[in-house]
């Protein structure tokens, strides 16, 4: 019974929101707007539940002295300090922004720098493990785009640069067409996933 009620609620709300996108009726638009606002509020509550889960997982790791527990201690201390400062001083206060600008941004920037190295190594690894036509086209296109985008000490290669160059030709025709094809596939898959939920075939809710 409980499951039937949750399915009925999901289908009813889903149908109303979907119709609100396509049918221009003031009542439908109002209902869609209200439901989406409720969804945003619930997502914010879910965020808090998720943060409690994050804290609990690391707390348990420290209590059981599992592998990597010293890092969990750092997470817990940082978590506590950040929550206290942001709750006490406010999210846009000087100290809150100090944490953001001097701790979070530098750490994330260093991860971006690391990403470049990882991608270069991954490409070499891919060439060794999976050398086929798709890999060659992929690496060739990536190198062409890099060469075409990077400044070559002010040198412009006539075949590569410019509005009729190879880079523009590949990016505007081959890459754009390929990307649109992939996006069509993704869009069809997303609609199919939504429709399966609307007919109650998929139920990622209610246990």
């Amino acid at each position: 019974m409980k499951l039937s009620i949750s399915v009925a609620i999901a289908i009813a709300f889903g149908v109303i929101v979907l119709l609100g996108y396509f049918v221009d009726l003031p009542l439908l638009r109002l209902l869609t707007d209200i439901f989406l606002r409720y969804a945003s509020i619930l997502a914010a509550v879910a965020l808090w539940v998720g943060l409690v889960n994050l804290f609990a997982v690391h707390w348990r790791k420290v209590k059981r002295s599992e592998k990597g527990s010293p890092y969990s201690v750092i997470v817990l201390i940082s978590f506590g300090i950040t929550v206290f400062i942001v709750a006490y001083f406010g999210p846009t206060a000087k100290w809150s922004l100090w944490i953001f600008n001097n701790i979070q941004i530098p750490i994330e920037t260093s991860l971006v720098a690391l990403l470049v190295v990882i991608l270069v190594f991954a490409t070499i690894r891919m060439m060794r493990k999976r050398l086929n036509w798709f890999t060659l086209v992929f690496v060739g296109a990536a190198l062409l785009m890099l060469l075409g985008s990077a400044p070559l000490f002010g040198v412009e290669l006539p075949l590569l640069h410019g509005p009729n160059g190879l880079r523009a030709l590949v990016s505007q025709i081959a890459v754009a067409a390929g990307a649109r094809g992939l996006l069509f596939g993704v869009a069809l898959g997303t609609i199919a996933t939504g429709l399966r939920i609307l007919i109650g075939a998929d139920r990622p809710y209610g246990g």
Binding site: A43, V49, G50, N53, A56, F184, L188
Partner: protein, 254 residues
């Protein structure tokens, strides 16, 4: 003829969705009464089925990471597919000592992943108690999410990492950790940048709509096979519409 009014986005969109829905329902009925056409082989799904068996035998864990997209935005589709994959894998690996662990970068997804694990436990072993760490929120920004996922891969005896959801280029940090750990990576995303990175870094990349076929390949039910067939038909309809539109534009009718 007023083509603009006839093909207004609202009307055309609603018709498209209704046709899609009709095709899915039609194919569900057909799949139930007939033995459906076999699906084209996708090596990634064969490999993950084999890997689940090996992980259960070796007493290792499977890790599913659901990305950092929410369930209310455009990226919800891939996240919901991730939950579907989690459900199928948790069910298949339910006899294992180490149940699969799910990580995500969104609060709602963390709750839903725990809910999915609980539902599988309830139907397979009659227990409703679920380990709270089986569905974890690991970080809220893209790089915090990637960094939070790494200890799960490196410290928790993970045999395979399945990435299904919304990611950005930070996905490379996760696949690289799995590679260094010697575990299999199967990955798919709705984001094109992430798909490019996944193609270069994952053992088994799922490109384009292949991620959305996961339910059909992991035997999640006739609705999944039916929606796959409906997608195939509508893809050809779209190709025809694009070509017809280009031809009409060329002769000056549009």
């Amino acid at each position: 003829m007023n083509f603009t009014a006839l093909f207004s986005v609202g009307v055309l969109g609603l018709v498209f969705v209704l046709v899609f829905l009709g095709l899915i329902v039609l194919f569900v009925v057909y799949e139930r009464s007939h033995q459906g056409r076999p699906l084209r082989p996708i090596p990634a799904f064969d490999r993950i089925r084999r890997e689940i068996g090996l992980a259960v035998e070796a007493g290792k864990r499977l890790h599913i990471t659901l990305g950092r997209g929410g369930i209310t935005g455009q990226e919800a589709g891939s996240a919901l597919i991730g939950l579907q994959v989690l459900e199928r894998i948790a069910r298949t690996a339910s006899i294992s000592d180490k149940p699969p662990v799910a990580t995500s970068g969104d609060g709602s997804l963390a709750i839903l992943s725990q809910d999915t694990s609980r539902a599988v436990l309830r139907t397979t072993s009659g227990e409703s108690q679920v380990d709270p760490s089986s569905g974890r929120l690991v970080g809220l920004t893209p790089y915090a999410y990637a960094a939070g996922t790494l200890p799960v891969i490196l410290d928790e005896q993970v045999a395979a990492t399945i990435l299904a959801g919304h990611f950005g280029s930070e996905v490379a940090l996760i696949t690289d950790a799995a590679e260094r750990n010697g575990s299999l990576t199967l990955a798919g995303s709705d984001n094109l940048s992430a798909q490019a990175v996944i193609f270069a870094t994952a053992d088994e990349p799922l490109i384009g709509e292949e991620l959305y076929a996961a339910g059909a390949y992991l035997n999640a039910g006739p609705a999944h096979q039916a929606s796959l067939r409906a997608q195939d038909i509508l893809r050809w309809v779209l190709v025809g519409a694009i070509l017809a539109g280009a031809a009409l534009k060329l002769i000056g009718l549009l």
